[in-house]
Symmetry: C2
Subunit: 331 residues, 2 copies
């Protein structure tokens, strides 16, 4: 007999990544509840999503982060809490921690992460302050000895691939010109030899990134919740076929559309200046890009068993969408 699936409460389920986590949870057969504010449920913009939740058997629970007692009550009904709250609510997850502590029954808490591993990064401001908020939440969870998993899903395909990492609005890759932060080329920055090469050639900022499709991020997240291998660990989503540099990404796209793009390279010095000279939120977008592509914060360290596991290795049965397939959507 298969073990019973844990009951999952998702907070922030109508957000960018939350909706994919909710979908994956319901699909995997977990009794799934989503905490929503009544105002969100009544928002016409969220109507389609709310209907989709209902049709997939998801339970809507009215409440919010700031109502301690009702939060405790809802948490008591669940086994696992997943937070996918947006950037503005990251610090307020202390409210969830307090409620989990009081409820006392939660077997696993996944705070809102869904980016790079904030304990392994060398970001500059203002990205570093943003990452520090997630670090503080991690330390608060650990201090309360709440069982956790942190999902380091790296780059969202829906954001980075649909724009070829151009911090802009159009959700289709460019067909004429492309701007590349840094030099954009080599691969395999985990190897020591490579680091020396970088030093010899003064190519300081040539790191690869990892681009993951949002449904896959949802699927891997839900796989992790009942898994003892991810208990008190970071789940890194770094499937081998999704690791590539910006130049490789652009080349792949050029091949698909049968056309070369004009590539402009932004040296680190110029990017740093641009970050200083851009107001919020563009400075954050650029500083995140600097962290990923010029500091290599996604790929410049080894995942060690004491703190993490890799998702595609841990769950080889998941057929993930690779970068190559993803780009086909836009041809």
């Amino acid at each position: 007999m298969a073990p019973e699936k844990s009951k999952i409460l998702i907070i922030g389920g109508t957000g960018y990544i939350g909706q994919f986590v909710v979908e994956a949870s319901a699909k995997a057969g977990h009794p799934t509840s989503v905490l929503v504010r009544e105002s969100t449920a009544a928002d016409p913009l969220k109507g389609k999503l709310i209907d989709k939740f209902k049709n997939s058997g998801v339970t809507l629970v009215f409440g919010d982060l700031y109502d301690h007692q009702s939060l405790v009550n809802e948490i008591k009904q669940a086994d696992v809490v997943i937070s996918t709250v947006g950037k503005m609510q990251i610090p307020d997850q202390t409210k969830i921690i307090a409620a989990i502590k009081e409820a006392g029954n939660i077997k696993r808490f996944l705070p809102s992460e869904f980016g790079i591993d904030v304990d392994h990064q060398n970001a500059i401001e203002p990205a570093s302050s943003m990452f520090a908020e997630k670090v503080q939440i991690r330390r608060a969870i650990e201090a309360e000895r709440i069982p956790f998993t942190y999902i380091a899903c790296n780059c969202f395909s829906g954001y980075f691939l649909s724009t070829l990492a151009q911090p802009g609005a159009a959700a289709v890759p460019p067909r004429d010109k492309v701007t590349i932060h840094g030099d954009g080329t080599p691969k395999g920055t985990n190897e020591f030899m490579h680091h020396s090469l970088l030093e010899i050639f003064h190519l300081d900022f040539v790191f690869v990134a990892v681009f993951n499709e949002e449904h896959d991020i949802g699927t891997y997240t839900i796989k992790a919740v009942d898994d003892p291998r991810t208990l008190n660990k970071i789940l890194y989503i770094k499937p081998p076929e999704n690791i590539c540099s910006l130049n490789e990404l652009v080349s792949l796209w050029e091949k698909k559309i049968g056309k070369s793009l004009e590539r402009s390279y932004v040296p680190e010095e110029q990017l740093l200046k641009l970050i200083q000279e851009s107001p919020f939120p563009m400075n954050v977008a650029l500083a995140v890009s600097h962290s990923i592509f010029l500091k290599g914060d996604v790929t410049n360290f080894e995942i060690e068993p004491r703190f993490g596991v890799e998702a595609s290795e841990t769950y080889p049965d998941v057929k993930y969408t690779c970068v190559d397939e993803y780009l086909d959507r836009f041809v």
Copy 2:
């Protein structure tokens, strides 16, 4: 004999808008101090700016927001405190409020605003949460009865004009294609008649914005600090020549470069969907654009004497840079 100029302490002076406020303060002859963290002073990226401050007679004071006693001591040396801290530190301005309260000598406090008037806006999430942080700081200042001025400087030219309001990275206006949020046309949305026209033609989202040059923002800010007319008021920077719609902006640019741009319009429904489907920070950039260009949050209300004054009217001696001149820089 001219009255003595008040002593100004600026917190966040090395940031995007802070540097212009510092420059204007020194230029106007105010004894000017800038609170900087030692790490900021040692940052090579800030070296040039720090040197510029020193050369213009600005005093660097080492310290930070989170060291209450040293903050109180520094505040005791000043008459006026101006905060230009970045987005990530907005909520932490409660530390400045507490220190001003304890010091007891401050004649005027200008918290970090430098955007739209957050008490007159209809923004949607996630912009609304961001604006709410500034609202909370306003209410905390008022509750403590600290004399204040709020600077509503509307859109930074360096961000909005250099890109023609394209939420992207390149700091030069596009020469081929341009994307306009909303329909982009009419002007003069303060008139009632116009509102009716909007309703008749179902043009819901056609507001003008105000684009101000950063040096001018600094100049007007410093003009306000000793002025009884701005005491406990909002200073709106809305010079008549800087008010225009996106379509007017694009037409002006087209005339300058002698070339037509391909204009794509993004209807409100599509923009709302894009906001929902974009991760942080692009969702914030788009929601701010929605607030400005589709809700008209910069121009859809009258400035009433009980809560505010307009800068170019109040200080007619300031020769501000108008939008037309600003765009000449890029031709």
